[in-house]
């Protein structure tokens, strides 16, 4: 094909201002998520290049596709997309003969690629890309009763085949899913979710050492950090609550339709499952080297080194009963510093426990 003499697109100067080289002087900023990069890094021309390499086959594989739909699929504004299309159209090899490898138009809001040369297929999956999908899929396959196992294993096999060598390192990353006692509960919960039924739970609350009874209207089954949770509207608390499946002592699916209030707010799983609220009590605990696990186990707001392995931890909680139990567990490896009344309470707890030993 000869060098560009024609314009590719819409009647009113398809390229916007004529002269491909001037089109869209400002490159579209890469949209987070459309290009492969680790968090926090700035957008680069490499990322835009990845997008451009995907754009041609995206259109080719669909024969023709709308500007608006494509912009949505790529997370771009239509203006940014048009800028990308213009850039692709402008590609020109000058030697030995001038040659324009890509020809396309977006007249009337529909993109058609009439010439894609050797760019009609997407680039192979990189190791990181193949790994991200394969590790996630294998994790899903590990969740009992959670997904269509047959679809998962077929998809894993297809992706492994398509990724080829790039699939190799994914075997070195794994996310294990806890499944000690939750299997039966998962089956019941899926059943309740599908049939939109209320469930009755006997649920263990370790922080209070209580086996509680409650009716819950299931909303979602969450699997976060390898642990499964039932998210539901707790009729006792009249709020959205999370129930860890391994703490469900027993579950019955009731013959009552679930009634989740319209305004029930699902937990934003990407913000962390447990967030402190303004009403929480601020607790300060100091732990020895042997008690440092506390900082790993509980969501802490602050951790300050005190020397000799000791750590001062700050955390907020709506209910301090579990802190009392934690303090008894830590013994001399921990000391609650604040609040003062909690500290006094813990001394009473220990004194009462020792008294029980003295009398029996």
């Amino acid at each position: 094909m000869s060098p560009r003499e024609k314009a590719p697109g819409a009647p009113a100067g398809p390229r916007g201002p004529r002269g491909p080289r001037e089109a869209g002087a400002h490159g579209a900023a890469a949209i987070p998520g459309t290009a492969h990069r680790l968090r926090g890094q700035a957008a680069t021309s490499a990322e835009r290049l990845q997008r451009l390499l995907a754009l041609v086959p995206y259109v080719v594989s669909r024969k023709a596709v709308g500007l608006a739909d494509t912009a949505t699929a790529f997370g771009l504004s239509e203006r940014q997309l048009v800028d990308d299309l213009n850039l692709l159209w402008c590609v020109e090899l000058r030697n030995p003969d001038p040659f324009c490898p890509i020809d396309l138009s977006y007249e009337g809001g529909e993109i058609v690629v009439s010439q894609a040369e050797s760019m009609g297929r997407p680039l192979r999956l990189a190791v990181d890309e193949a790994s991200a999908l394969l590790v996630a899929l294998r994790m899903l396959a590990d969740i009992p009763g959670l997904e269509d196992r047959s679809a998962l294993s077929r998809l894993i096999a297809k992706l492994e085949a398509a990724a080829g060598e790039a699939a190799g390192p994914s075997a070195q990353v794994a996310v294990q899913v806890d499944k000690p006692t939750g299997d039966q509960a998962i089956v019941q919960i899926r059943d309740a979710l599908e049939r939109k039924r209320r469930v009755h739970l006997r649920y263990y609350v370790p922080g209070r050492d209580e086996a509680t009874q409650r009716d819950v209207d299931p909303m979602r089954l969450l699997v976060v950090e390898g642990r499964a949770y039932l998210e539901g509207w707790c009729r006792r608390a009249e709020g959205v609550r999370l129930f860890r499946l391994d703490r469900i002592l027993s579950i019955d699916v009731l013959d009552v339709p679930a009634a989740v209030p319209e305004d029930a707010q699902p937990v934003d799983v990407d913000q962390g499952l447990f967030r402190p609220s303004a009403d929480d009590v601020h607790v300060t605990i100091e732990v020895s080297a042997a008690g440092r696990w506390v900082a790993e186990y509980y969501p802490c707001e602050s951790a300050e080194e005190l020397g000799d392995g000791w750590l001062r931890i700050g955390l907020r909680t709506p209910d301090t009963r579990w802190v009392r139990r934690l303090a008894l567990r830590l013994g001399e490896d921990g000391r609650v510093i604040a609040p003062e009344d909690l500290r006094a309470q813990i001394r009473q707890d220990a004194t009462a426990a020792l008294a029980a030993y003295a009398s029996g």
């Binding site: 899903l140 979602r220 969450l222 020792l354």
Partner: protein
């Protein structure tokens, strides 16, 4: 970011893809717009561009132009090595693909997952990626997520991927100071929501597992890519599982538990099972120790003796490690009292005294 550079790199990819023969650097300079005339400047820019393409995963091949002329090297990209092979997905497969991509949302591999989806879309696949909660997972009420809050995840994954040894400062459990470790990393595993790295510890010449949350400061590469060999047949999941597994519960404790309390222990009791969950329920006789008491007989016995613990249940619970179990029992305070064995009883009393120390 530079539009001109994007254009140049794009032209370079097309140029290398459209040739069957190897092209010399000079041929490439003449074909691709945007390279400087000046040879040194061109060489520098061309080197950087090649590096960028390789980082993107473009399989850039280097070869000699003719067998007789070994000096003049050329470049090309083979279509077959470049292209994602044909891939057709059924509707149910595309649905779980979207769910899988969401697993990493906001975690370290989120960008990689999005990059993969981009390419699969480009291959004509329409993953159900559940925007605005319309995805398959959301419809079925399922939301799986993995987080990578540990800063060490990124560099360790790179090290595993590229087979490079690393060094880092590590504070082992119970240690007051971190120690410098050098590791040949074999894999990273998430277990109970925490990330671990397993590999050969060079300093100790032994297999070790490290928790990423206990790594302090930066992870540094201590060798070039390709210098770590993972022994054949290694299953990193198994290595971490073995390291993290709870020893068998071979010991038995007899505990007295206040009614309505101690559920965290009752759950694991061998006799009577789940004693107080439904007091009216009959307890199978074979699970009741003959020398101990079922809840009913304990109550009866205590009542007869007029003990201060009237109504308390006596349960038998298996455990593995005295230290850990003593901590656990102590956390129940005055609701649970160890009857036997004596060293467990002493350990709990010592914890409780420690609180008052």
């Amino acid at each position: 970011m530079s539009r001109r550079k994007t254009e140049r790199l794009l032209s370079l990819v097309v140029c290398l893809l459209s040739t069957r023969r190897y092209l010399t650097a000079e041929q490439i300079r003449r074909a691709v717009a945007g390279y400087p005339e000046q040879p040194e400047a061109f060489k520098r820019m061309f080197e950087r561009d090649k590096e960028e393409l390789r980082e993107l995963g473009v399989p850039l091949e280097t070869g000699s132009l003719s067998p007789l002329d070994g000096e003049d090297i050329g470049y090309r990209v083979q279509q077959q090595a470049y292209e994602l092979p044909e891939l057709r997905l059924e509707a149910d497969e595309a649905a779980v693909l979207g769910l899988a991509a969401r697993v990493w949302q906001h975690a370290e591999l989120a960008g990689a997952a999005a990059g993969a989806l981009l390419k699969l879309r480009a291959a004509g696949i329409d993953p159900d990626d559940g925007d605005a909660g319309a995805g398959a997972g959301a419809r079925q009420g399922i939301e799986p997520r993995v987080h990578t809050t540990e800063p060490a995840f990124g560099p360790l994954w790179e090290a595993v991927r590229d087979r490079r040894p690393v060094t880092f400062a590590y504070r082992a459990a119970g240690r007051s100071e971190p120690q410098l470790r050098e590791l040949e990393p074999w894999g990273v595993v998430n277990r109970h929501g925490r990330w671990y790295v397993a590999g050969r510890d060079r300093g100790r010449d032994a297999v070790r597992v490290f928790r990423l949350g206990r790594i302090e400061g930066d992870v540094r590469f201590s060798g070039p890519p390709g210098t770590v060999t993972v022994p054949a047949g290694t299953d990193v999941r198994e290595v971490v599982r073995t390291w993290d597994s709870v020893p068998p519960r071979e010991n038995t404790a007899v505990l007295r538990v206040r009614p309505g309390a101690g559920y965290g222990l009752r759950r694991y009791a061998t006799s009577p099972p789940d004693a107080d969950s439904s007091p009216a329920r009959s307890v199978p006789s074979d699970s009741v120790r003959s020398d101990s008491a079922s809840p009913d007989s304990a109550r009866a016995g205590s009542a007869r003796a007029g003990s201060a613990q009237a109504g308390w249940d006596t349960i038998t619970v298996p455990y593995s490690d005295v230290g850990w179990f003593a901590d656990h029992v102590a956390s129940f305070g005055a609701d649970v009292v160890v009857i036997d064995p004596p060293h467990l009883r002493d350990a709990v009393i010592s914890r409780l005294k420690g609180v008052l120390a």
